[in-house]
Amino acid sequence: MDIQPSAGAVGVETVGMTMRFGSFTALDDVSIKVSAGSFHALLGENGAGKSTLVKCMMGFYQPTEGQMLVGSREATIASPRDADRLGLGMVYQHFTLVPSLTGAENLVISRPDVPRIIAWPKERKALAAFMDRMPFKISLDAPVRELAAGEKQKLEIIKQLYLGRRFLVLDEPTSVLTPGEAEELLGLVRGMTERRQLTVLMISHKFHEVTQFADDVSVLRKGKLAGTGRVAELDHKALAAMMIGDQPIAPIDSRRPTPAGAAAVLSVTGLSAKDRSGLKSIRIDDLTVRAGEIVGIAGISGNGQKELLEVLAGQRGREAGEVAVKGEPYGATRAQSRDRHVRFIPEEPLRNACVPRMTVAENIGLRTFDLGPEGRPVTWINSGGLKAHAARLVQQFKVKTASLASPIEALSGGNVQRAVLARELSGEVDLLIVSNPCFGLDFAAVAEIRARIMKARNGGAAVLLMSEDLDELLELSDRILVMAGGQLVYETSIADADVHVIGEHMASRH
């Protein structure tokens, strides 16, 4: 195949797009105009209909009603193949590259007309010529699994351009990138739109990205178009109002000062453990969390934060080092965590903190089901008491569930997280270890969960918070540590925290 430079940006418009699944209307009369060569942002909460809209545009769904205009001409997109033919492409949130293939192999095999026998010398020359025209520079000879997340994301975009796409949907393209990587990537993409090589529709939930890079913005709420306009004419407040409407948002407590000389609750010294591949280790030389402070750990996913959490939670063995809670060695046994009031809010709560097929009541009772009223172990489980306890917490933490007897896996992500919070934050909490608590949750749930974490801190708990969301860390933490390559490489107090310095350290061990 000759790799032609794409014939230039193309505009895309949806007219009265409506999508119903049975009686549920996922998309209600949405008309969006993305003009040729523009950088258009699509904002909305989870479940607002963003992905339904782009799936309709890409031919994965057939809209119940509505039309598409591509280059001001009416277009029928019955399948992803039709979208390909019109030059419409999408970069998904998860990577669609094949990890064990090299970049070059990934590009060539994605073409619709791969020859039976691939003449690599010729292909390499064509690829080199193509890469010369790209603003991105990455190696095509390494297997994709060895690339950093930012490079993978660039390769995904390169792949779309290699396939001759002129209109690109980017689905939260920066969710796995450092701030530096994200800025570079979006800057390059923006450059391509300015040169009118490409039209971009970017799904995002980060306001600062939208204001910094996008020309136009459309906001969806509950399947309806809540607003649209030039980015220059809208501020964060207006965007937030469009996104969440008038639902109440839990206010976050103001930060009470950490008492001077507060005792160290968690101290980790000289800890080392193997990571998931078994080839690398994480090493934590010294980490202390005192009562009444939130210590945030920033880092790109896969740099050892998960392993650290697993060691602290007892899910992973350690090779060396000491973990102490309130001055005594801590081995993450049930008795120890109960005795010293250690609580966990892990990421992917359904997998790491729940038994998916047990009921809501049973899951809420996992910490206390075998204790009697005086905190002594009991032989016979008081199922009535368990239910009453769960009912109280479900009401207090506003867990929306059909019944206490429904399996917890039937709940939405936000409600599973609320149920876990209810279990972990009730009773005395001296040490709270939290990881990505708000991943994939909507605005109201995020605000509420952050407020609860802050409340626990103000109540005197020591909080260790690992998060891939820098904004979250900046909002909640008293100190921020950066983890890269399995080690803590940087520490800053919140007062001196600078996003760019943190980002540089996050990327330091790639």
Partner: protein
């Protein structure tokens, strides 16, 4: 039979000859399994396919008088078993390992059932090329009398290694084996690709069986296979799913398997039975040496049910 006076040299020589003779079924079965696993499925039924292939090859060779017709018949039967495995596994929530074990027992049982009448008659043997004709020593002549299928196996390993890198079909198999999601996004149908890969893998495994019954040991009976089909699975993991690695590993296993007979022919009369167990000990040792509780297997196709 006279022992020539090359003394203990006969042991490595017999091992070389044995490696070449014994390794051929390993080569074919492991290459077949490598193709199947590279597409993201494990076919544990290859032991059954091998035994049934051995029976089919022998029976057809007896009936037609042509050993090569027997090999073709084995390949067809093997492809049939592969298709059956892949077809059952294409249903949702079917475990490929359980299906493989069922098909292994099914293949062996079916082979015994149809193979009863063929235990007595003699079939024509596959031809060998006497590369050792230049030498006067019978040991060298014996060691270098190389079967055509062994050479075919080497060619096949090299060809597969090349194909995985340089052909559309090879890349497609790797894509499907590593990420079914990515394959679907490219418009490929993983089920179809796996169907074909498993069928081809079955056909190769059956060729290994044909070699057993038509060349070495060269007869059909119910104790023909000594677990080659199962050990080939371990061998593929040891070879990190690389066809050239499969070839090398098969030779290593073949040499280990030839240790017992070689010692026996060199006049060692005690304890050589222990060395018959060498390939199995080697399998265990390799599996222990290459495993680890804390990490995933490097190079494993991402879609395999054991690594996913």
């Amino acid at each position: 039979m006279t022992m020539s006076d090359i003394g203990l040299w006969s042991v490595p020589l017999a091992m070389l000859g044995g490696a070449i003779r014994v390794s051929t079924p390993f080569i074919f079965v492991s290459l077949g399994e490598a193709i199947t696993e590279r597409s993201g499925r494990i076919n544990l039924g290859l032991e059954g396919t091998l035994v049934f292939g051995a029976m089919a090859a022998y029976a057809v060779a007896v009936e037609t008088g042509s050993a090569w017709t027997g090999v073709v018949a084995a390949m067809l039967a093997g492809a049939g078993f592969g298709l059956l495995h892949a077809w059952i596994c294409s249903f949702p929530k079917v475990n490929d390992i359980a299906v493989g074990i069922a098909l292994m027992l099914f293949g062996i049982g079916l082979a015994f059932f149809f193979g009863k009448p063929y235990i007595q008659p003699a079939a024509p043997r596959l031809p060998a090329i006497p590369f050792g004709a230049w030498s006067d020593l019978p040991q060298i002549q014996a060691a270098l009398s190389i079967n055509v299928l062994f050479l075919a196996g080497i060619a096949l390993a090299v060809a597969l290694w090349w194909c995985f890198k340089n052909t559309r079909a090879g890349l497609i198999v790797r894509v499907v084996g590593d990420s079914a999601e990515a394959a679907r996004a490219m418009g490929l149908n993983p089920t179809t690709v796996r169907l074909i890969a498993t069928a081809v893998g079955g056909a190769f495994a059956a060729v290994g069986g044909a070699y057993l019954s038509l060349y070495y040991p060269g007869s059909w009976n119910e104790r023909l296979s000594s677990g080659q089909g199962l050990m080939a699975v371990a061998l593929v993991i040891f070879a990190r799913w690389n066809p050239l690695g499969c070839l090398a590993a098969a030779l290593l296993f073949g040499a280990a398997g030839a240790l017992g007979p070689a010692l026996q022919s060199a006049g060692v009369t005690q304890g050589y039975y222990l060395f018959y167990a060498a390939p199995y000990v080697l399998t265990l040792a390799i599996m222990i040496a290459t495993s680890s509780p804390g990490r995933a297997l490097a190079g494993a196709p991402g879609e395999l049910s054991i690594t996913r």
